[in-house]
């Protein structure tokens, strides 16, 4: 965990995923939209998936071609026109896989290759503006320097263990690891094209956890002194209540009860979940009321509001 002083308001963390950085885009409406930066792992995963597709696609097409009963069609130089047509289609297909795959998919409406779609990634312009075809071309043309050339050189030179292959290896490594050394995990092609790859989760709207009416009927109430936590803890509590793991809820309830000197009512003590939900509702009501007055409490180390 980060030191308390360094932590931001929990509501500033993009999508509640604390620890992930975001590229902030100011929309024309004046709202700051956080686009979550794709992690290095997600980007490598997407690349590997795309490579898998690029390698498997011609293999599958070849197998289908061999299975189809076409031997006699091209016997003895018959159907020459059809033969050269098939050859042309095959060459365009290979050319597409080698040079056009990334460019065409990223120019599409989803701005993502199949691999990126699986990883829920998308290419955006660094300032949230329009993603131009020129930018997509540049970012993918640069793969030649970042990836294909070093890999080719490594294979070419590894045969004779020369200094060159080591240099190519270092070059490939440096460019491959470049995304690790900047906050937005951008590679060289991204810098040249002014693009960034972002993670687009598809969040669903769940139910509201706070049920003040129900808690009032249960008779669970807390004094302001007992609501001794901040927004950070409220976020964690919400997460615990949405995941609903009994062991975790029990441990959390025990911690909170110890901190706030909670005494269970004699008859009919509330269960862990009931207690936590009541506490969540009360804490949220307290913090939101203060929030409306412009006073916010980041976490429990902050001064009480």
């Amino acid at each position: 965990m980060a030191k308390p002083g360094k932590r931001d308001l929990a509501s500033d963390a993009p999508y509640g995923e604390i620890g992930r950085s975001a590229t902030e885009v100011l929309t024309p409406e004046g709202v700051v939209l956080p686009f979550i930066n794709a992690t290095f792992g997600e980007r490598v995963g997407a690349l590997l998936l795309d490579w898998l597709i690029m390698i498997l696609a011609p293999v599958i097409v070849l197998i289908i071609w061999l299975i189809l009963p076409l031997e006699h069609v091209f016997d003895n130089g018959k159907n020459k026109a059809l033969g050269s047509f098939v050859l042309i289609v095959a060459m365009f297909f290979l050319f597409f896989l080698r040079s056009g795959y990334f460019i065409l998919f990223e120019m599409g409406a989803r701005a993502a290759t199949p691999g990126k779609r699986v990883m829920k990634l998308r290419v955006i312009s660094h300032d949230g503006g329009r993603l131009t075809p020129a930018a997509v071309f540049t970012r993918n043309a640069l793969r030649e320097v970042e990836l294909y050339l070093p890999v080719t050189l490594i294979f070419a030179w590894s045969a004779n263990h020369s200094v060159g292959s080591w240099l190519a290896f270092l070059w490939a490594l440096a460019l491959l690891l470049l995304p690790l050394f900047n906050k937005q995990h951008a590679r060289l092609g991204d810098f040249l094209a002014g693009t960034r790859v972002v993670h687009m989760p598809k969040a669903s709207l769940s139910y509201d956890l706070a049920d003040l009416e129900g808690d009032r009927n249960l008779g669970l109430s807390f004094t302001p002194d007992q609501l001794a936590y901040g927004e950070m803890e409220l976020t964690v509590l919400e997460q615990v209540l949405r995941e609903r793991k009994p062991a975790v809820m029990k441990a959390v309830a025990a911690r909170i009860k110890a901190r706030i000197n909670w005494v269970d009512p004699k008859n009919d003590p509330p269960g862990d979940e009931t207690f936590l939900r009541a506490y969540y509702g009360a804490l949220r009501a307290h913090l939101e009321a203060k929030m409306l007055l412009g006073r916010r409490r980041k976490d429990k180390h902050d001064a009480p509001v």
Partner: protein, 345 residues
């Protein structure tokens, strides 16, 4: 502190609800409607929308945006804010995404962006051209001085176009092949190969331009060496004609690609007043536009090479076509898309 929360619930009171909950209840049907519309866009595209739905989309988008900015200041419901952020981000990329009509896209690329980009790269393109010419002269002179250089420069050409090929064998390689099918696979091969080479030449600019320089120089050298080989057998004119029909387009495209590589190298090493990050971004966008043009030029060159050169065997016609193509490209790059005086930047 809201007193309602910790007084016992004995007296009848209005239903207790947070401000953020009322806020959510009033607006969530709009959010769900926007989410459903976005699902529809992602699956079937904007074309499947009726006019009412299209007019409604920006309204739903703005309402979600205003909900988000309000929710961030009144609500601590993580799930709701997360949902709104994801929803707004998804909507944003569609509302402000590339929705220009195809006609406008084509107009702005062919009439404005492409020729302007090439004009702005003029200096680097001149440098790339000089490199190519220097390579060609060097290739010629070295072969003329010591003919074994030819095998060094073109190690794969020992067969039909080698040092010991006769004039007749050489003539055969530059003849036509009218029986070939018009859309010959050869043309496609040449086109795809050249586009690959052009992309590499461009991308290598990011390594301070040295590989771009070397590739361009080497292209020039092989060119000079081959011209020398044919010239010393008395076939210089025919070879020039064979080369010119597509070569003016193809070499022009390669020179532009090399110019793009040099431009990236220059902005990388000398970003000028801008920061290096901004300089690289500008260079990338400018050269990216020019490179899409290069791919188009190479497609034209591939057609000329694979089809035109096989069908047309007369050297004068070949040279004529090559010269016309050069003039067309030259005119296109120098005159199309010029800003009228007073139009501003």
């Amino acid at each position: 502190m809201n007193d309602d929360i910790h007084t016992p619930a004995d007296a009848p009171k209005p239903v207790l609800r947070l401000k953020s909950q009322k806020f959510r209840e009033a607006r969530q049907s709009d959010w769900r409607a926007l989410s459903a519309q976005l699902d529809k866009v992602e699956k079937r595209g904007l074309g499947s929308f009726s006019i009412d739905e299209l007019l409604n989309l920006p309204l739903l988008y703005r309402s979600a945006m205003s909900s988000l900015s309000m929710a961030q200041s009144i609500s601590l419901d993580r799930n709701m804010i997360t949902y709104l952020q994801a929803l707004c981000v998804r909507a944003y990329v569609y509302v402000y995404g590339p929705q220009t009509r195809l006609k406008d896209v084509l107009y702005s690329f062919f009439v404005l962006a492409w020729p302007r980009a090439v004009r702005r790269l003029g200096g680097e393109i001149a440098l790339a051209f000089a490199t190519l010419v220097a390579g060609a002269i060097a290739g010629w002179l070295m072969c003329a001085h010591d003919s074994t250089w030819y095998n060094v420069f073109l190690p794969g050409e020992q067969g039909s176009r080698g040092l010991d090929s006769s004039a007749e064998e050489l003539r055969k390689t530059i003849g036509g092949n009218p029986e070939n099918h018009a859309l010959s696979p050869f043309a496609v091969f040449l086109m795809t190969h050249n586009v690959g080479v052009a992309i590499s030449t461009f991308a290598f600019g990011a390594v301070f331009g040295l590989p771009t320089f070397a590739l361009t120089l080497y292209t020039g050298i092989t060119l000079g060496a081959m011209v020398w080989l044919f010239a010393q057998q008395g076939l210089g004119f025919e070879f020039a004609a064979w080369l010119t029909i597509h070569g003016t387009t193809e070499l022009f495209a390669l020179v532009i690609a090399a110019g793009c590589g040099f431009h990236i190298a220059r902005r990388l090493m000398f970003p000028g007043d801008a920061t290096r990050k901004v300089a690289l971004r500008e260079a990338g966008t400018l050269t990216g536009t020019a490179m899409i043009g290069v791919a188009i030029m190479l497609t034209v060159a591939g057609c000329l090479e694979g089809i035109g050169r096989q069908m047309i065997t007369d050297p004068f016609v070949r040279i004529g076509i090559g010269a016309v193509m050069l003039a067309v490209w030259g005119l296109y790059y120098t005159s199309v898309g010029r800003r009228k005086p007073g139009e501003g930047a």
